[in-house]
């Protein structure tokens, strides 16, 4: 068996790999663009936990432990009050970006888990203390890990998600270019001559 068909098969294989490579680049480009798109969109606050609920009656004062009286309740009840519209927006962004650690794939604005209630309250409290967005996210990350934020950091582990597809696409491109050889016309002519000969022989 001659070597040629094998090479031809291989070049077919490489060509289909070229298609894969194109798809990879497309996907990579899409992945790179999405965070930018998400940041530009304005509807982050759609799932806002802002509810104007009635405050619950306070337990009888004789039974209230010392700690309970330290903080006035309007400050962190679920009807969070913001004087500054920018702060309100920031709160909505934060609760949309922070991920509920108990439930799978819900942000703390959407989730009704007890932990999500507490995290919203804490987010509000931290903001009232004057902490900015990145500080609140950091506070949560210290306790719940990178899992808690919907934008994972680029580090030694996650960098491969970006590098591998590009590396694969690049290596395939190089392979494709190196493998591609112009077909020699003479070769085709001689083949045609051979085919003619075979037909005549029949």
């Amino acid at each position: 068996m001659s070597k040629k068909p094998v090479l031809k098969g291989l070049s077919k294989f490489v060509r289909s790999m070229g298609v894969c490579m194109g798809a990879c680049i497309g996907v990579a480009a899409f992945m790179l663009c999405t965070p930018a798109l998400a940041q530009n969109s304005d509807d982050v606050g759609q799932a806002a936990p802002i509810q104007q609920t009635e405050l619950n009656p306070q337990p009888q004062s004789g039974q209230t432990p010392a700690g309970l009286q330290e903080r006035p309740k309007q400050e962190y009840a679920e009807n969070y009050v913001f004087v500054d519209a920018g702060k309100r927006r920031e709160f909505l962004e934060l609760t949309a970006e922070l991920r509920c650690p108990k439930c799978q794939n819900q942000n703390i604005a959407d989730s009704d888990a007890p932990i999500a209630h507490d995290m919203r309250r804490k987010t509000y409290e931290l903001m009232q203390e004057g902490k900015d967005k990145s500080q609140v996210i950091e506070w949560m990350k210290v306790r719940y890990g990178d899992f808690v934020h919907y934008q994972p950091p680029v580090n030694v582990v996650t960098i491969w998600l970006w590098v591998l597809p590009v590396l694969f696409a690049g290596s395939m491109l190089v392979f494709f270019i190196l493998r591609r050889k112009p077909e020699i016309e003479q070769d085709i002519e001689s083949k045609l001559a051979r085919a003619d000969q075979m037909l005549k022989d029949d």
Partner: protein
């Protein structure tokens, strides 16, 4: 050689994908790395559930190994693990409850402290009381500092106040052997020896029951 590679490379890629996806089928997405492991227990100053005049601080960990159990009467799994925790405490392990109840926070519910104490007394009288005392995490700040996502969660704290084990879910003989036993064996071997004997007795009895059923 090239011909062989044409068949082998896709085969290996396929097998690799199979292994990766198969592992994914059985991966538990709720398992996460604890952020407090090997770190000192977060600084706290919280009242006792029974007597709010008593304030507990990190000094409770001084000089002994403590199992901190985050729980509440509203949590069913917490009640289920109470008998086993009680057995642990009977073997010399100090078990402290970190009690939290959203319903007692005036912002979330209407429960009174008296009512909560009543419910706690009822629950522990029914299922067993492992707790030396219960710390009342009024605003659940300490629970947040611990990275608690829901009850029950248990923390094994060594005599220097450092968290050595963080477990989500109930504690039972199987979990104990897997997660707690190696660590406790290191920091308090005598208590662990006693608990290991008890675990063997429990699983031995369970195996006996299983044999009886299958024999019939």
């Amino acid at each position: 050689m090239i011909r062989l590679a044409r068949y082998l490379i896709p085969l290996f890629v396929f097998l690799g994908m199979c292994i990766f996806l198969y592992k994914g089928l059985y991966a538990d997405p709720t398992i996460r790395k604890s952020e407090v492991l090997s770190k000192p227990f977060p600084v706290f100053e919280l009242p006792d559930l029974e007597d709010v005049q008593i304030l507990h601080t990190n000094e409770i960990f001084d000089g002994k190994v403590t199992l901190v159990n985050v729980w509440g009467v509203w949590c069913i799994t917490c009640a289920i693990e109470l008998p086993y925790l009680t057995a642990l405490s009977e073997n010399g392990l100090t078990v402290v409850g970190l009690y939290y109840d959203q319903d007692i926070d005036p912002n979330f519910g209407t429960k009174t402290l008296t009512r909560v104490r009543q419910e706690v007394a009822e629950t522990v009288s029914r299922y067993g009381n492992p707790f030396a005392f219960n710390i009342f995490d009024v605003y659940r700040d300490t629970a947040l500092d611990l990275g608690v996502t829901g009850a029950p969660e248990s923390f094994l704290v060594d005599e220097n106040g450092v968290i050595r084990v963080h477990h989500l879910g109930d504690v039972n003989p199987r979990v104990w052997r897997q997660k707690f036993s190696p660590v406790l064996n290191e920091i308090a071997p005598s208590i662990e020896a006693s608990i290991a004997l008890m675990n063997d007795a429990i699983t031995g009895a369970q195996a006996g029951i299983g044999e009886g059923v299958s024999g019939e």
